[in-house]
């Protein structure tokens, strides 16, 4: 979105392709409290609606189409969507990432029946229930705290002996009496007839297995990049995130990558926005060089 905003403001002929409505993972975030300029926390959907409106002020064109393939076509890039195809001199890939599944028994079978990847969407269904959150990063811990608004108890199941989440977020979790953390623990299966009824977990240090009575299991075990649409060789890291230089250039001339799909350490709205601006600027210079 920021790349689109900057490109449109630079009067580059720009089209933003979005598979749903603009927003991505931010749309599943209840409260954003670390995006500069908003002293009060703002909801993810609110923030995205503002960004979209702002980008449209600069006449950014947005189409709801899913990109299926990107390939080379002479010295241009061909972008094929589920509806049509486009030729572009430069492409900024900002396709983000999506929550990983662990692939344990019951996870897929009970999705939507207690297994969830979005606490803000599904939290209210678990009033006064027992729920578990899998993971130990920012998302896992923040969403666990959010779930305490509804659930009777929230157990964080974490495979290590310490959390990776930001210190402030950790402090909030540790001081919340509804939050209980099971250290060194991994989930091994989820059971339930129609709905989730229990989850078996295993302590990785002692090997001891325990059955937890839970109605909801929320997975925050990391992200997988949305980067499987290239009909050309592009450099990625081991997990498929796109490698770029400091100016967001990928290994393919004319293709840039920003946001969660990019190989990097920190995945935040503010970093994505910053990278979007950098990429749009790099594209502007790239296009100037092509024509001069």
């Amino acid at each position: 979105m920021t790349a689109g905003l900057y490109a449109a403001r630079s009067r580059i002929d720009t089209l933003l392709l979005e598979k749903l409505t603009p927003g991505g993972q931010v749309m599943t975030t209840a409260m954003v409290e670390n995006y500069p300029g908003f002293e009060e926390p703002i909801s993810g959907p609110d923030l995205m609606a503002r960004m979209e409106k702002q980008a449209r002020h600069f006449d950014l064109k947005i189409e709801i189409q899913q990109v299926e393939r990107i390939s080379r076509e002479r010295d241009l890039k061909k972008v094929v969507t589920d509806e049509q195809q486009y030729l572009a001199r430069a492409v900024i890939v900002a396709t983000g990432a999506e929550p990983k599944s662990l692939g344990i028994p019951g996870e897929k079978e009970l999705r939507g029946r207690g297994v969830s990847y979005c606490a803000t969407c599904d939290g209210p269904f678990f009033q006064e229930k027992e729920v578990a959150v899998i993971g130990g990063g920012d998302s896992a811990v923040e969403e666990a705290i959010y779930l305490t608004r509804f659930a009777k108890r929230v157990r964080i199941i974490h495979r290590r002996d310490r959390l990776r989440a930001a210190k402030l977020v950790q402090e909030r979790a540790l001081s919340n009496e509804k939050v209980e953390i099971l250290w060194d623990t991994v989930p091994i299966r989820i059971d339930g007839e129609q709905l989730v009824q229990s989850m078996d977990v295993k302590n990785v240090k002692t090997g001891q297995e325990t059955k937890l009575d839970v109605s909801g299991v929320f997975f925050y075990v990391g992200l997988k990049p949305n980067s499987n649409f290239f009909d050309l060789h592009i450099e990625t890291d081991e997990e498929g995130f796109l490698r770029t230089d400091d100016n967001m250039r990928t290994s393919v001339d004319g293709i840039y990558a920003v946001g969660d799909v990019r190989s990097k350490m920190l995945r935040q709205i503010v970093t994505a926005a910053g990278e979007g601006a950098a990429a749009a600027f790099a594209v502007e210079k790239y296009l100037e060089n092509l024509t001069s």
Partner: protein, 107 residues
């Protein structure tokens, strides 16, 4: 944007279960970001399948009975009803093609 008709606990039987046409019901709520993301796609489906399919939204907040009856624990959940029965259920916000393929295989 075209508004999608709302269906409620009290109109559900008449509008959906007793409908002559297959019916698509988008279970969602105002608090749910991905529900907002999927709404424009549901609107497009309503247009594309006009005459072959009825399309409704159901707010799970104000219509908890229907949501509970169909075991909705994750939104958005889009359910296709045919002759009073659930023909398919799609959980999560998916690209349009995903819904089209499901619909075309069943309608």
């Amino acid at each position: 944007m075209a508004e999608i008709s709302q269906v409620t606990d009290s109109t559900f039987e008449q509008e959906v279960l007793k409908s002559d046409l297959p019916t698509l019901v988008d279970f969602g709520a105002a608090w749910c970001g991905p529900c907002l993301m999927v709404a424009p796609i549901i609107e497009e489906l309503a247009k594309d399948y006009q005459g072959r399919l009825k399309v409704f939204q159901l707010d799970v907040d104000s219509n908890p009975a229907t949501a509970a009856k169909y075991g909705i624990f994750s939104i958005p959940s889009v359910l296709l009803f045919k002759e009073g029965k659930v023909a398919t259920q799609i959980v999560g916000a998916m690209p349009k093609k995903h819904y089209v393929e499901k619909l075309d295989s069943i309608l």
